[in-house]
């Protein structure tokens, strides 16, 4: 795969995630769609820093450290994505916690049942 394929895939995932968020009515499915959306964005970030034929920016040998610039892919996006994945995990945890409480209070995870506060 080259970089363009990654871009196409990430655009597809972002679109899928957005559609899922807006078309689903079940909160758990919305959470899944949010994860797909986040994965799409994360994939985009990594593929931005991807250079074909280069290796991961882990400089384990002295020899590699000396000549890393031409050999490794851009390390910044990978660092960003690690952070973004962790943040996404936190979001998902809070969201699932809310889903549990929603089920306890409303007896369902269907967001169209959330209409106490209409107005």
């Amino acid at each position: 795969m080259n970089a363009l394929d990654f871009y196409a895939l990430s655009v597809f995932l972002i679109g899928l995630g957005l559609m899922g968020v807006f078309l689903n009515r079940d909160f758990v499915k919305i959470l899944i769609s949010l994860s797909v959306l986040e994965s799409g964005v994360n994939l985009l970030i990594v593929s931005i820093g991807y250079v074909r034929g280069r290796i991961a920016p882990i400089l384990f040998s002295k020899e590699l450290q000396a000549s890393a610039v031409g050999k490794v892919v851009d390390p910044v996006p990978q660092a960003l994505v690690l952070t973004a994945i962790v943040i996404g995990l936190g979001l998902l945890a809070v969201g699932l916690g809310m889903a549990v409480w929603m089920h306890r209070r409303f007896g369902t995870t269907d967001v169209s049942e959330l209409k106490d506060l209409a107005g």
């Binding site: 949010l34 959306l37 986040e38 964005v41 979001l91 809310m98 929603m102």
Partner: protein
Amino acid sequence: MTKLAVYTFALPLLAGFLMWFVGRLGNRPAKAFSALTSLITTVLAGKVLLSLLKGSSIVVVFGGWRPPLGINFFLDPLAGLWLFSVNVLMFLAVIGSGTRYSWRFYGLLMILLAGLNGLIMSGDLFNVFVFFEIVCLVSFALVAYYRKRESIEAGVKYFVLGSVASSLFLLAIALIYGKTGTLNLAQISYLSNSWPALFKLVVFVLILVGLGVESGVFPLNAWLFDAHPAAPFPVSALLSGIVIESALYVLLRLVGLFFLDKGAVLLVGQTLLLLGVLTFVVAEIVGFYQRDVKRALAYSSAGQIGLMLMAFAVGLSRPDLGSVALVLLFLNHLLAKGGLFLSVGAVSDRSGSRDLDRFAEECAFSDKVVGLVGGLSLVGAPPFLGFWGKVALVFGLLAINMYALVGIVLAVMVLEAIYLMRISSAMLTAKGEGRQDCPGQALSLWVLSLLMLGAGVLAVYGVKKGVDLSRLRFTPKQEYIQTVYDVSAYKGGVDIDG
């Protein structure tokens, strides 16, 4: 000296996690601990603000890597003022929160404070995202704190909107990084001159949506009106007083740095002006018909955000009037709405009803004072900050020849005045005698009333004495880049590692 700025972020974060241990001692020690922490950060932020008002902007560099390679904080006088106000309101909200919240609540508040302080100071786009996520996550949890039906409903709505928005913001960051290869705000700002129009438009929309949800810009603010009434009252005060404002601050900072070159400034200005007017008008008209007092106050918050957006847009062509209006409206809203939520929220909790006719039964004397002073200040009665802010905004609108807008804005302001005065008068005429949980509640309300009364007088006195309010503005692009890049800035700034 300027190193202090970092501790306003680091201390509350540490306190938030230490709360796990402090909480073992009970809820009261937890409250005292968070009050102490926010008092310390308030003092630190006050010192930072004083040094900013005297001298130049501060760039704090981390890890010995100079920007644009490394990560930095950037503080101009406006950032200093914002930082200080946020810490003040957090301290007062902790003091005024009563005795019924657990240590977990205070832990979350401390992490919220850390996120907000970082958000205001950050000079790195990805750090902005991280701090923004901290703020979002903590607010989701705080809104759903009671786990009642309405809090879960509000929390779920807020969660879905907020998460989609932050994903879109991350998408904008990815696109910007792909284009420029950097995350440093100054360097992006420098490189943004050569962005093609289409790219600029896409990124602008993504950032506007991404940060607009949290800052309550129409039509993305639907969560706000459910979240404010459902949240515990100190959280409503904080959400309304500082969270949505700080999101707006970041939005305006990014817009100012990335999108204001000569070709786009007019279009951006008009877009923001239009959004501001829509936010203001729609929110105030709907707010007028609310019976639920906390919900009515939430609508008024969205309205004030609209006014601030308008002030920023005006400031693009008339910096003198616009930036002054923005600062005054921000301070006014922070004090008045913070105070109103702290009093109205506590009173309606005690009375067991949020209905306009019945919420005020358990009013204490300090609640009545804040009800009156805060209401008048928010409406824009003459001695208060709100008056000067609205005057500056109206003159600014006149100066850019938006006569029709002035008419609309003034008419809607009357509407806002009517429903806010209904709340104030309900509190003033309440017969019952309310008992506050602890003396801290009365203390925080008194402090807020004094600040509201004092600030308007102080501002007028200060301007007469020659204090230059116009220094409290978003540092323009060129100057921002210069300050961050300028080597001499490091003499004023601090290198954390030496």
